[in-house]
Subunit: 236 residues, 2 copies
Amino acid sequence: MNSHDTHPGGPDLAALAALLADATRAGFCLALLDGRAWTAIELARHAGVAASTATGHLNRLVGSGLLTQERQGRHRYVRLADPDTAELIEKLASMAPRRADPPRSLPAVNRSRALARARTCYDHLAGALGVAITEAMTDRGMLDWEQGLALTGDGTAWLAELGIALPPATRRPPVRSCLDWTERRPHLAGAVGAALCRHAFDAGWITRIGTSRAVALTDAGKHALTDRLGPAAVET
Amino acid sequence: MNSHDTHPGGPDLAALAALLADATRAGFCLALLDGRAWTAIELARHAGVAASTATGHLNRLVGSGLLTQERQGRHRYVRLADPDTAELIEKLASMAPRRADPPRSLPAVNRSRALARARTCYDHLAGALGVAITEAMTDRGMLDWEQGLALTGDGTAWLAELGIALPPATRRPPVRSCLDWTERRPHLAGAVGAALCRHAFDAGWITRIGTSRAVALTDAGKHALTDRLGPAAVET
DNA sequence: GCGATCCTTCGGCCGCTGCCGAAGCGTCCG
DNA sequence: CGGACGCTTCGGCAGCGGCCGAAGGATCGC
């Protein structure tokens, strides 16, 4: 008996894990966790590898269904295939050991601070801001953590006031908890988390900082969140 | 810039994934997903590798915190470190591609059937039985899937009747959904799922089939479940 | 004590896979 | 049209990591 014929028909865990077991491919996936589409060369530069190397990795990731691609002219855009994939990568990231040396240079420190303050995590909000919003919603009785995370009637009403309708029931859970890398506390994910994040962009509460995944809270956003969730939601 | 110094301080996804990216180590983890402790040599035989090879793999898995070990005399018992780890492996398994060839030999077919009918999945019930129980509980209003999975008042009362108190609030969610490999539908996991499974063993509703992770529903179990959840819960 | 069993360490083999650079193709823009 | 740019294919190199068997230590049962 060889490991190859153990449990035929069962899940090939090793094949899936191997896709993420390479530092370059893992770096791609973590970068793509911002929910946006990246071009091949952007990812290559981000990871510090040659374009030809990136091509090979992207072929594997797309071929296995972890990423989807879209060709536009001479560009190859890739993104995470679906929220399920994002959730898998989040879970791995939350359990993975930290990398060694903390950043030293001043710009690097600033970049880290901005990311810790507020960023997108796939399609929802993370960082101190994401956690603060989640906790403020909990304090105001919009989220119930007692028997698994659930949105209360108050929560539904609050969303409706913002003009956010409950997303139609699909396989994706409306609310889900996602462990924050920097805060080590949960923030709101799932379909509602995504809708809330989209609303925050649309309403001008937050804007991207340059082209990074970090976001900045605007003055309008500060006012809106203080009005609707109290001052604790913006104390980052 | 090299992938090694990208995002220092961030999660080292590749390191964690690499632990599961080997067929032998992945086989160990899937076997341990039955929630029991295995000896080194049991795992080695299960995966079809030499004892010395297994030692090396176990050292890595234990050293990285995925498994915990207990020495008893000449035996080395290992088990999954915690429910969080089990959840990670479940998630990977549910998204991984299936292995190629379906089993052929008659005993292999019987083994597969038994596993598909009812088995333990870490510390809760899976297979057709696990799914049927979960769906019966849903039909009777004990579980609410509307806003994330939650246990209702009826559910709490039903558990109390069985003598199962709600587990004290810890970081582990009371109810959680776990995607079933064979059924491709969710079954009940989390602290309540674990307590229910333990009760089923204690009350003699189910027993292990030999030393495998498959379980058999006893006559007493059939009666008890029909009484408490209706006939649908035992129609596998 | 003695053999059987479980586990561990060590050395050596081998195959997989990630990396790059060079060359070439298609697309975009001036 | 021509140059710049994004991407791809190919060949070759190098290192990591999994595998085994042999030998040895520890424990158990007789």
